[in-house]
Subunit: 449 residues, 2 copies
């Protein structure tokens, strides 16, 4: 092995840093220690910080108050590797096959964050001064919901102060296709439980004389959308902004066809809100989804009960300007208004998170796009993701900085799945991207807003 | 204990004849042997018959070809007694409290069938010739679905030939209130499964672009009824006969108020098909009930999946003239017609059973009513039960005879539950009822049809 960068990645991947499994607590500390030493070795100040959970690592370049500061965020913890029998090579013994490194964490997120670290290493090894101040924050609890991150940001607000944040933890629109994710949907969760009889009733002995909570629940869920698939809750779309022309063009230009999406999901045909493409429906339009539905007998065959209760677990995916608390109120009110008084209804609000939007035409967005174009050799795609990345909103709220989401993951990287992998090409591209984006962000402050 | 009848019942109740628990197989044989000996003791021919499962006991009076033959059906097997900790006295150590015998099987069905046996014993002990030929059939598999009964009836068709059947295994409309159950609803079961994506999807990453099977299922279930609670499946009511005036009067006269029914079920308010009372909705009108509904995440809290499939388990309760196979076809066709082509639908038909109706104005019905009036001292209620008793249809199909369902169970007998009990008063009433109904059925053949 003559590539020292690749050697570093192989070492990093050998730590079984599974944050959710307590048996790996000492591996977490060992992995954090390794990162700190890597930072020291390339010439940064670095320290391990207690968080209340798994430690985080912070590193800094020498601070120049005349320069902007960029925070690079990543995480060294990984998903559990199970089911082990589905891995072609052991998850913590990285193996290179067909130009890809196979290991748990290869893409998510060790390969991506290490590319940034080594990118900085190259700058310093050349004896250059970085074009911006850089702070690295590498945490160990991302895969378990970054439980202690918010408090940590609060207590390290000054040390982590920055102008903009760079995160490589998203996916490219297609393999080797530069992609800037500029928006994420928010979320609001709600559970609705209908209760009728005081216990399960015999559906013969009582059926016909009482409202069946399962039937009532189904009828209630059926009021959430109109026949065309549009959300039918009054006020639901009130705060939603129309898509700008450039956004529709960007969505249209993404290298993902409707047929590819259909094959990826396995559905007989795609479907959704009229007037929007599937990409727009996923990234730019709010939804109401049933995540779970239940009531009565769940086993094999028949049991002639009239269930005492039934439930629906809903999540609303939100777009910018939609306030999660307002949406929860609207959905709850709608359900209550449509519920017959022959059953009792209970609504419980769950977790909420705001949508995120970072204008890719803002100078920092333009800087990121120039960097992506330089490194990949073609115009980057601008993508809105349908999922939520809560830390991005947390950063915005506490540090007041936007995040540039620069994808280094390929669509077939198998993050969270067996045989997770990272193309060596993406790793080297990431090392170059780090240097390019710092350079462009350094320029951005000189450009007029 | 000076009451020999009560002594017999206590002995009978001490057998833990739980048909579904294989550990009790020898108790089943011992119990059947006890019944045979009881029959021999009162002066009948009797034998234990193999059925392929638990044995049945058949007994006969001396046959007189000039007389009609009445088959008395009952069962000696009982429900499991669990949960044992909820019994005030052990389930197989019968205890008398407040004029009731507490034991598993006290009402269902040992107390009721033994009343018939001892009623015959009294006739023979007085040296009388029974007014009709009587055959007793006491089986041991009623609580497990009478699995071998149909084949047994087929192979004993001649020996069990009869003009009419008497069964005491139903409930009185109110305590000490004579009740003839003259109709039972039929049943048709169906499962509907909707499948969309090839696996559970992330509801953020894909939500909005594919039909959610749980949402689609809810919308499908919502098409089964109209806003007023009437079944909305085309053709569903086609074969349903209007209720005769005497039936509506009989339903109205039942000693059960709407408020009592509401309290019994525990619902905030009763509800059902417009134009009918709750009693009519239960006994005389067909229904479509959801017995089970499921899809996606069933655990605590939130999991943001877009489920790959969702199911509904339905049973239709049917009234006379509704053909179960036709109804299954109608419901299946309706579901398929309303299912969007963006999900796949699979319909599986389950068990079926026809509704039962025995005109209580038929001479045998009138005979039963006279007997009930004589013994209880007031006009009997005529009741349609909402549940199904499949053996009644089996008897009708194989032996060609109708069943008179003469209730001896009180509404608070706790059949199938802890602290099952049988009022001693009902037991003695049953002994007298047996004699009265044989006398009246003996007369019935002399009356013009």
């Amino acid at each position: 092995m003559t590539d020292p960068h690749l050697n570093d990645l192989l070492e990093f991947l050998r730590f079984p840093s599974v944050s959710t499994q307590s048996v790996h607590a000492s591996d977490m500390v060992a992995c954090a220690t390794w990162i700190r030493e890597k930072f020291l070795k390339i010439g940064l100040e670095a320290k391990i910080c207690e968080t209340g959970g798994h430690p985080a690592v912070i590193a800094h370049t020498v601070h120049d108050p005349a320069k902007r500061t960029v925070l690079i965020y990543g995480h060294y913890d990984v998903q559990p590797p199970e089911p082990l029998e589905e891995w072609k090579s052991p998850p913590f013994e990285p193996e290179i096959r067909d130009g890809r490194i196979f290991a748990r964490g290869a893409t998510d997120n060790k390969g991506q964050i290490l590319a940034h670290i080594l990118g900085m290493g190259e700058i310093l090894a050349r004896g250059e001064t970085p074009p911006v101040n850089v702070t690295f924050l590498v945490e160990g609890e991302e895969e378990t919901g970054s439980e202690h991150l918010e408090a940590f940001l609060e207590s390290h607000r000054a040390e982590l102060a920055c102008d903009v944040i760079v995160i490589s933890d998203t996916g490219m629109a297609a393999h080797a296709h530069p992609t800037l994710t500029y928006a994420l949907r928010g979320i609001a969760a709600l559970e609705c439980v209908l209760t009728g009889p005081s216990q399960d009733l015999h559906s013969g002995v009582f059926g016909g004389a009482v409202t069946n909570p399962a039937t009532a629940l189904a009828r209630l869920v059926a009021t959430l959308h109109d026949a065309d698939g549009r959300v039918a809750i009054p006020g639901f779309y009130d705060a939603v902004q129309p898509l700008a022309d450039w956004e529709r063009q960007a969505a249209d230009a993404l290298p993902i066809t409707e047929e590819q999406l259909r094959q990826l999901t396995g559905v007989p045909a795609l479907a959704g809100e009229p007037g929007y493409s599937s990409i727009e429906r996923i990234g730019a339009r709010p939804t109401v989804e049933v995540n779970g539905l239940g009531g009565g007998y769940q086993g094999e065959g028949t049991k002639t009960v009239l269930p005492r209760e039934a439930f629906a677990k809903l999540t609303m995916r939100l777009v910018p300007q939609q306030d999660p608390a307002t949406i929860l109120q609207l959905v709850g009110d709608h359900l209550k208004a449509h519920c017959p008084d022959t059953v009792r209804i209970q609504i419980t609000g769950g977790h909420c998170g705001e949508a995120y939007f970072m204008d890719p035409n803002h100078p920092d967005g333009l800087a990121a796009r120039r960097a992506l174009k330089e490194v990949f050799g073609c115009e980057p795609s601008l993508m809105r993701e349908g999922g939520s990345i809560p830390i991005v909103t947390t950063f915005k709220n506490i540090l007041g900085a936007d995040s540039l989401l620069l994808a280094l993951a390929s669509p077939d990287c198998c993050a969270h799945s067996p045989n997770e992998n990272f193309p060596i090409e993406n790793f080297h591209t990431g090392i170059r991207l780090h240097q390019a984006v710092l350079r462009e962000l350094g320029k951005a402050q000189e450009l007029p807003l």
